[in-house]
Symmetry: C2
Subunit: 377 residues, 2 copies
Amino acid sequence: MSNSFSFRVLASDGAARLGEIAMPRGTIRTPAFMPVGTQATVKGMYPDQVRATGADIVLANTYHLMLRPGAERIANLGGLHRFMNWERPILTDSGGFQVMSLANLRKVDERGVHFRSHIDGSAYDLTPERAIEIQGLLGSDIQMQLDECVRLPAPRAEIERAMHLSLRWAERCKTAFEANPRGQALFGIVQGGDDPDLRIASAQALVEIGFPGYAVGGLAVGEPQEVMLRMIETVAPVLPHERPRYLMGVGTPDDILEAASRGIDMFDCVMPTRNGRHGLAFTRFGPINLKNARHADDPRPLDEASDCPAARDYSRAYLHHLVKANEMLASMLLTAVNLSYYQTLTAGIRDAIARGRLADFRAETREGWAAGDIPPL
Amino acid sequence: MSNSFSFRVLASDGAARLGEIAMPRGTIRTPAFMPVGTQATVKGMYPDQVRATGADIVLANTYHLMLRPGAERIANLGGLHRFMNWERPILTDSGGFQVMSLANLRKVDERGVHFRSHIDGSAYDLTPERAIEIQGLLGSDIQMQLDECVRLPAPRAEIERAMHLSLRWAERCKTAFEANPRGQALFGIVQGGDDPDLRIASAQALVEIGFPGYAVGGLAVGEPQEVMLRMIETVAPVLPHERPRYLMGVGTPDDILEAASRGIDMFDCVMPTRNGRHGLAFTRFGPINLKNARHADDPRPLDEASDCPAARDYSRAYLHHLVKANEMLASMLLTAVNLSYYQTLTAGIRDAIARGRLADFRAETREGWAAGDIPPL
C-alpha cells in the first residue's frame, strides 16, 4: 500500500499534531496546506513561486487532467512532475468528486462513474481500477481512492449507500495499487456525511482494509462549520495515531485552524487561489476586499511585515487599480499573497504545536482577524 | 526642453546607430525596445521580470491612466514609478493616439481633443497643456507632445491638416513643459502620413522648434512595411544626428531589424505582450503558434539555448496544454518569452552595430526566421 512513504508525529498539543511525511521527492511538514493546481498549474503562479510561499506539496485534479491533456500523454512526456515543472511531491485526487460537480450525464453504478466530458462531451468510464491507473500514469506521489461524495443535506439512506460503495471501491483501489504501485502511497477516504455512526463505521472499515493515510471526504459541501468540526472530532479518534489525516477541500483560515486543532494533518482548498483572482486578500488582519473603493488612495501595502513580496512591495491603491482594471497582475499578486498567508498560518500552527502553545496561537490569530484591517490614517 | 537627459551615439553602422540615453533613473541602451505597460502594468509580468528580460525603460499610456486611476491620484501616491513598482525610466505617450482608437464621441479642434471615456462615458478635454500636465503628474521621464495621428490611407489634405495641427500643438506642449518641467525630456512627433514632402516639412518644423528627441508617429497604422521604411529613410536624414529617434508603435521583429538599420533608436509595441496572450511565441526560429496541435506531444522547450527560463524550462506540450486550457500561466510564460526575444533581438542589433557587422546580423537573423521552427524528431 505504500512504496516509500513514512509519517512521524513529532509533537502533539491536545489533539493537534506536528508531523512530517517523508517521500523520495521531499518532506511534507504537517499540518500542511496543499495549493491546488487543477490543470497542472497553480493558477497565476510560477512553480518556483509556489515553492517560495512555503508549499511542500501541491494537488492536481485527475478529472481535469484525464480529459485534457490526457493521462497517457502526460506519462509519455515523463509524468506530471516534469510536465508542470514541479519536482516536489504531488497529491492527486481520484476524479470522483469533480465528476459529480462538473461532468455531464454522470451515472454511478457498482462498476464506477460514467460521464461525459464538460469540454467536448466525449464519454468516459472512471472505475476504481482506472482511477488508480490514471494516477499511476500521472505519477503522483500520494494517490486517492475513488469514492462517491454526497452533497449535504442528504437522506441517511443515500449517505449510507454511498459510504458502503466507497468502501468497496477502497478495496478495489488498494488491490489495483498493490498490483502495480506507481505512487508512494494510496489514501482511503472516510465518508458518511453528517452522520456520526456512519462516519465511525466508514473509518473503522477503512482502517480494517489498511492505508498509509486517511482522508476525510464529503465535508465542506454545504454543512455548517460546527457540523464539519464535530465530524472531525468523531472520526479522528478512530484513525490510527501514526497515519496522516487529510481533510479534503477545506477551507477558510479559520477552518484550518480549528481542524488542525482537532488532529487534521493535511489540507487543500481553492479558496486562496480562487479568491485571489476575485480581488480578495487573506491576511493576518482578516480578509481584505481590494475591490472596495476605500483602497483607491491608500499608499500602504497589504502587510508590510509580510515576507511575501506581493504583500509588501505594492500599495493597496495599486492593487485596487489592478483589480478594477481587470489586470492579470491583480490575480497574480493576490494569489501569491493568499498562498503565502495560508503557508504562514500552517507554519504558525506547526510552531505553536511544537511549543505546546496552540491555544494561545489560536487566540492571538483570531484576535488579529477580529481586530480587522487597520484603517488608513 | 530637457531637464537631465543626454544622448550619445557610440557607434554607427550604415544609417544604424548604437547609443545611450542617460537619465537620473537609469541608462537606456539604444536601439531600445520598450515593453508596453498600458495600465501601469506590463500585462502578466512582475516588474522585476520585465527588467530581467533586459528592458531599460517601459511605456505607459496616458489615455488609460488619466481615466483610471487618474493622474492626480497617481501624483498623490508618489508618481507612476512608485505606483507600479518600476524604478527605471518610463516613457508616456500623450494620450492622443488612443483617444482616436478607443474613446467615444471624440472631436478634434484647435484647442485639443474632446471625448468620452470608454469606461464610464464621462467627458474629457485633452489639450496640449493638459497632456503635459498629466504626464507631469504621472512623473514620467520621457514625455510626448499631443499630436493627431491619421489612419492610412487618407486624403493628402487630411494628412496635411493633421500635420500642421500637430506642429502647433508641439509648440504649445513645449511652452507648457518648459514652464514647469516635471519630466526629463519632451519629444516632438513627426507626422505627415505616407507623403514624403509632408514628412520632411513636419520634421524640419519640429527641428526648428527644437526637442531633445524626435518620434516618428502615424506609421504602422495600416500601410505596407515598405511605405513605413521609405518614410523612415525620408525623415531620418532631416533629424539631428545627436538626438534619439523613436518609431512609435512598431513592430514585428522584422520591422525592428529594418527600422533600426535605417537609424531608429527606440521602439515600443504591444505585439510581444498581446501575441503572447494569444498563444504566439516569437523566437529565433520565427513565430511559433502554441495553439497548434502539433505541439501536444512535443517534449522540447521553445528554445533550449535561450536565457529566458520560460523558453527553456517548459515543454511545448505543456505550453500547448496551458494555452488550450486557457490558463493564466500560458499568457505569463509566453509574454516573458516574447519580451525576452525582443530584448535579445535589440541586444543583438546593438552588438552588431558596435562590431560593424549589422548586415551579417540581419542576414543571419532572417536566415533563422526563414529556416523556421525545428520539426519534432
